[in-house]
Symmetry: C2
């Protein structure tokens, strides 16, 4: 059997599964941002017709799932697997979203790296011959996240300048064994990187070293130059994390400045929207991927993307106990050309 | 390419990855139970040398990980992936356990079904040619779980007769592409089943219908009779869930009584240990698998096991909001004979 491994952390997907369908949903804030026109649905109602923020997140993700299934022209029960997770404790956002779908579920927890994690595993199940049609998705909701991770909204706490705004957004992809692409071609799975950051209002700093580690390993493993890619897009480092990443990369002799951008800096217009260091949350990179980057690939405006979603594995409990916020970053190369068989 | 799918939810692992090494760790209660002699380590110290229950869980899981790596004769950095998750919010049990391992991590959330979920994905990455050596593991800790899901221990709350005792235990497996077995041969991935149970002290009832669904689907998909297996072992239904499962199966014309048992009924001696309906927690099925079932397979006391770990996807938040506790069950067939290529 041909080996699919490249270097220590990367695999080459022999059959290059196609990311054939994608959908994105956002809330009010996302609707006022520069990427709004790419979203399939913007809801003015942050509750998405429900009575709690947790139900709202599930309803939003279910809407996104229904949209991507509708685009695919199949019914949900034709899906072989769903890979999903979210920020809510016990991943209830995902579970309640798919509970009536009748599809086998692999539940994930990768914090804001979940879109790349779910995409990685979905692509592997197809490339490995275990599935033909797989959904990868995730979500986050500003209101459910704030009260779980920081303070209840009603408290009206002051936000620090390093803080990021958890996106109220969801993204869902359907990968297929046959299709017109864009194609998932390589996967670099991240290790945990402990940068020693304990400030839950500075997640960019906690995640930047993990992004560096995964991106550099990906380039090493594949023998690619950063400029092989039209875009290298990190998950949700925000302005501060992005700057740290560029600086750390330069110290290693790698200049990412021409090619690297960040979903957390793309989702909102920081000159008009009061989001401090940018966007975050699983839904940030998921919706930017589904609502902006994949359409750009499909229109051939770009042809080679390295999607490197970052996660701050932040627990209020361990943070209160003085532990640091661990970072992780998973990367998937998405290209308009398949790997040569 | 030969299709690996059988029916709707099952895959046949062509190369039958070997579960070559396994380790289990338990706490005090587990040390007094009937399976204690099979554990690699029993700790009298519930804190595992740390100062918080969350740290204790991580330290326990790390110990278990170190033990299985030591048995394998390789160093941790030779592992291609770790698949792990646990009950703690944001899966911090797993994350802090492996943060210094230097191994790419796929974080999972499947509640008490996590051992079967991690084993499924680990086996698929090997069978699909993406990896040679993969660790699958999980843990739970009575004290960290009680305070997160129910009441602080110091409150001294009365436990209901239907309640189960979250195991303080961990199990870790290393799967390899070559090896002497036992072998993972088939995987049936579960769907969410909503039985409408809202009582967080009756998880067996919430999970039994999911176990039924997955076991019946597995038998259908593979064309196997229940008695093909020497044992069908559910995760942690406990006495009440186990009875419900047998009854529901009988209603479908399937008699599981001769072959079906439950990790939640095996870990403790209910005549001497005050655990009410039995054991639960990710660590329950993980440690029973690693400390009892896999050794039994290796000694050829049994040759065909269906390991069907069950999960109650229970969120204190959504439970307080009146939502039901969703159930899921993932099954892996583990046999002493590989699938015919």
């Amino acid at each position: 059997m041909e080996t699919k491994r490249l270097g220590k952390q990367t695999i080459r997907l022999i059959f290059s599964p196609s990311i054939s369908y994608f959908a994105s949903v956002g809330g009010n804030m996302e609707g006022q941002g520069p990427l709004a026109t790419g979203f399939d649905l913007i809801s003015e109602d942050s509750y998405f017709g429900t009575k709690s923020w947790e139900n709202a997140e599930s309803a939003m993700l279910k809407k996104c799932f229904d949209l991507v299934v509708a685009k695919s022209g199949i019914t949900a029960d034709c899906l072989d697997y769903i890979f999903s997770g979210d920020l809510l404790n016990q991943c209830v956002g995902s579970e309640f979203a798919v509970k009536d779908s009748g599809v086998p579920l692999f539940g994930l927890y990768g914090a804001c790296s979940t879109m790349a994690e779910s995409l990685s595993l979905a692509a592997m199940t197809i490339d490995g011959g275990f599935a033909n049609t797989v959904c990868a998705m995730t979500s986050s909701h500003f209101c459910s996240a704030e009260r779980q991770f920081r303070l209840p909204l009603a408290y009206g706490g002051q936000r620090s300048p390093t803080a990021q705004w958890t996106a109220t957004a969801a993204g869902a992809l359907i990968l297929t064994s046959e299709g017109e692409g864009p194609f998932a071609t390589h996967i670099t799975t991240g290790k945990i990187v402990d940068a020693g950051i304990c400030d839950a209002a500075n997640m960019g700093a906690a995640m930047a070293p993990a992004a560096l580690e995964t991106i550099c390993t990906h380039l090493d493993d594949t023998g690619r130059d950063p400029n092989y890619y039209d875009m290298i897009v990190t998950g949700d480092l925000g302005v501060i994390g992005h700057e740290i990443l560029l600086e750390l990369a330069l110290k290693k002799g790698i200049d990412l400045s021409a090619v690297c951008s960040d979903c957390g800096m793309m989702l909102y217009d920081r000159s008009k929207q009061d989001v401090h260091a940018g966007a975050s949350g699983c839904g940030c990179s998921a919706s930017v991927l589904a609502g902006y980057l994949l359409p750009k690939l499909r229109k051939k405006e770009i042809n080679r993307l390295l999607f490197a979603a970052t996660g701050a594995l932040m627990s209020p409990t361990t943070s209160l106990q003085g532990e640091s916020i661990l970072g992780i970053c998973h990367a998937v190369a998405i290209e308009n050309t398949k790997n040569v068989l």
